[in-house]
């Protein structure tokens, strides 16, 4: 059944059960959110998305309030604006404001909304908690002095990965995100999937592997397929100055059909081999048991000559090829074509069984 409501003077028709946030967005209102994540259980706790239903005493969180027939909603009444500003100031009051060195600079919700609502500083004297976790794991930086307690990380850890490594500890102003005994991630059930980084709206959780290499907002992102296991997860290579500087993921099921943004530790943190100084950069020819650098022309010329020699002397079936489960379809196709058409043998295989 459809219901009708008025949002900022515009009439919208939505199916019964639609949350106000979606109705508002349908009406063109840009509702700011922190804790809301359409893939996770609702929290309704950051109170950033509040709107004013006409005739109601209090504001409501649009992300958890179902639209009702005949409602009249204001998304930017003075009360709404004041509330959002104060919520932002309250967050700032416990947030270590170091945007200049923050990996999240440029794609941080807190920064964006402060900009939008003109919040430069907090009227509430802060007490930054010193919750930074000097965690020895090599993957994830946990700077909870930037945490705004949206609990998306906790929910992603539970509802996507199922690790249940982190939770909320303590109450009130002292509430914080931590592992069971407030220890390090390595001593928890954490599997370093980085789903928590993916959902964190601020710079509280970031990749140690990507740290200092380029702020994610300034990187180009190239959608591609993971090079490791056969699951075939889609990921985004972050590129800066023709170098891979990080991996992020895209949660759009259209673009990331298999994994919908979820990755594992290898996909999310295992990319920097690409930049390894040990990469081969030039052909090598072995002479007297030692490799020397060679030009392509020389190396390929020598290879062709030797292959031809063996083929002439012993026949094509004295040659064999191991193609690869890691190169592309196109390359595998050419590899077997080379073996079959150019050399004349069916001796081609790869490590499917290993």
């Amino acid at each position: 059944m459809d219901i009708k409501l008025t949002i900022d003077g515009k009439e919208v028709v939505v199916p019964q059960g639609t949350m106000l946030i979606d109705a508002c967005r349908q009406a063109g209102a840009d509702i700011p959110t922190f804790c809301y994540d359409p893939d996770l259980k609702l929290a309704g706790s950051c109170r950033m998305c509040v709107v004013q239903p006409k005739g109601w005493r209090n504001l409501v969180a649009s992300c958890v309030t179902p639209a009702q027939n005949g409602m009249v909603i204001e998304t930017d009444s003075p009360d709404v604006i004041e509330s959002r500003k104060v919520v932002l100031e309250l967050m700032l009051s416990r947030h270590k404001l170091t945007c200049h060195t923050c990996e999240k600079d440029g794609e941080c919700n807190l920064q964006d909304y402060c900009y939008r609502y003109g919040v430069t500083e907090s009227r509430f004297d802060g007490k930054v908690h010193n919750l930074f976790k000097d965690d020895s794991n090599p993957f994830i930086e946990r700077d909870y002095d930037k945490c705004i307690m949206c609990t998306r990380c906790v929910r992603a850890c539970d509802e996507i990965t199922g690790a249940r490594a982190i939770n909320i500890m303590d109450r009130g102003h002292h509430a914080k995100i931590s592992t069971a005994f407030d220890g390090e991630l390595v001593d928890s059930p954490c599997v370093f999937c980085g789903q928590c980084i993916m959902v964190c709206p601020v710079g509280a959780l970031t990749s140690k592997i990507a740290a200092g290499k380029g702020k994610a907002a300034q990187n180009d992102k190239v959608l591609t397929t993971c090079t490791y296991c056969g699951t075939g997860c889609t990921l985004e290579l972050n590129v800066k100055n023709d170098k891979i500087v990080g991996v992020t993921s895209n949660r759009d099921p259209e673009l990331s059909p298999v994994n919908r943004g979820a990755l594992c530790v290898k996909g999310r943190f295992g990319w920097d081999f690409v930049n390894s100084p040990e990469r081969l950069t030039t052909p090598l020819i072995k002479e007297n048991g030692e490799f020397r650098e060679a030009s392509w022309d020389e190396a390929l010329g020598l290879a062709a000559e030797k292959i031809k020699g063996i083929k002439e002397q012993y026949g094509p079936d004295s040659l064999s090829m191991f193609s690869s489960a890691r190169i592309t379809n196109e390359e595998n196709y050419l590899a077997q074509k080379l073996m079959r058409a150019a050399i004349g043998s069916n001796n081609v295989d790869h490590c499917a069984r290993l």
């Binding site: 009360d79 004041e82 104060v86 309250l90 009227r123 307690m149 009130g172 102003h173 509430a175």
Partner: protein, 406 residues
């Protein structure tokens, strides 16, 4: 008038509260019998007609609440809120200690109305003796067969004030962190273990047997029209008779203090009275001629709440008291939503600053903005009500603040 009207507490100290047979001797379990002879729908209607409104603070019409419970699910629950975490409030404890069987009967009546066979009593952690008492009372009632199929379990609370909030209470029974849920869905539709659940206060349940035996009209005729019945009040602070009373709901606040309460202790002058618990408004002497019922209190910007009445004499330092209250809420915020988690902290910080003589006009301004947002945007009643002591004293006692500024 100026006298008590005892309904719930009529047989206080005259019967053994644990004993079903004692209770039956004075007419107990007749209400349940009557209820069970009715069709559940009519029963709910009857309760609606009595005008009984929640005694836990929110004042919602009990029968109305029950009528929202859908019929089809097989499993439903009746939960009694005996968290009683408000400092200065102990009326639910008194009701249990004087007449526990009436509470059990009330829960069974509710169970019959909504189609539930399972009740829980969530008892404040500081009341282990009440847990004992209730367990014995339940055992006794079960033995006597008075409850029939209806089962009741007692759960000990986690000691957090916020667990008195009905959805936090549900989370706590489920074994989770005591954090309120957002509403809707209301417990009536999705409550304990996501099943329809009615949560009522002890006093609310305890009214039910009398409504059934004596009739909805009788109940509706007692006290204030819009909030009929009696109310158990607990008096604390600078008062001669610091004890409990049961009064009809149209009783005047002035009479509570000067008649039943015997006046301000030592004959001092009254400075303010806070009704409804820690989050209640501070009422100045000029508003004393207000009936204690829910709506009349609301009209003067106060709330009846749990029925706690805290009396402050002329020597009291309002700002200091409010500062302590701010500390209480900073400690009791569950930490889930931003306005309350950070807001209660900053309320305390600013109050402390002012109280220590380091505050400025700017701080008062900031307090006003902050409390406005907390009231409007917090997730649950705790954050919404925590600022009321501040806002009500800024309205009626602003000079006390100004006096303390730098």
């Amino acid at each position: 008038m100026a006298q008590e009207y005892r309904v719930l507490l009529e047989y206080a100290d005259k019967i053994n509260p644990e004993s079903a047979s004692d209770y039956i001797k004075v007419g107990g379990y007749k209400g349940l019998e009557k209820a069970r002879s009715m069709n559940p729908k009519d029963l709910t209607e009857e309760v609606k007609k009595s005008g009984l409104r929640g005694r836990g603070g929110a004042g919602f019409n009990a029968g109305m609440k029950w009528s929202f419970v859908p019929q089809y699910p097989e499993t439903k629950y009746v939960v009694c809120n005996l968290d009683e975490g408000e400092p200065g409030t102990y009326k639910d404890r008194i009701i249990c200690q004087k007449n526990a069987q009436a509470l059990l009967e009330g829960m069974a009546i509710c169970g019959y109305a909504i189609g539930s066979n399972q009740g829980y009593i969530y008892c404040r952690g500081e009341y282990p003796f009440v847990v004992e008492l209730l367990k014995n009372a339940i055992g006794n009632a079960k033995e006597s067969g008075a409850l029939g199929e209806f089962n009741i379990e007692v759960r000990m609370g986690a000691g957090a004030y916020v667990c008195g909030e009905e959805t936090a209470l549900i989370e706590s029974i489920e074994g989770h962190r005591g954090e309120p849920r957002f509403k809707p869905p209301f417990p009536g539709v999705e409550g304990l273990w996501r099943m329809p659940t009615v949560v009522n206060n002890v006093e609310t349940f305890a009214c039910l047997p009398f409504i059934l035996t004596k009739g909805a009209e009788w109940f509706a005729g007692i006290g204030a029209k819009s909030y009929p019945g009696t109310k158990v009040l607990t008096l604390t602070g600078d008062i001669e008779n610091a004890t409990y009373f049961e009064v009809p709901t149209d009783y005047l606040l002035r009479d509570v203090i000067y008649e039943l309460g015997g006046g301000v202790k030592g004959g001092k002058k009254l400075k303010a009275v806070q009704v409804g618990g820690t989050s209640g408004a501070f009422i100045p002497p000029q508003n004393l001629d207000t009936p204690i019922d829910f709506d009349s209190m609301g009209a003067i910007g106060a709330a009846l709440g749990s029925g706690a009445v805290f009396v402050m004499d002329e020597t009291r330092d309002i700002v200091d008291i409010v500062n302590r209250i701010a500390k209480f809420f900073e400690h009791e915020s569950c930490g889930q939503c931003t306005p309350c988690r950070e807001g209660t902290f900053h309320c305390k910080e600013i109050m402390e600053k002012i109280n220590n003589g380091r505050g400025s006009l700017k701080d008062i301004e900031n307090l006003k903005v902050l409390t406005r947002v907390m009231v409007k945007a917090s997730l649950c009643g705790l954050g919404q009500a925590a600022p009321i002591p501040i806002t009500s004293t800024l309205t009626h006692f602003e000079y006390e603040y100004l006096r303390k500024l730098m």
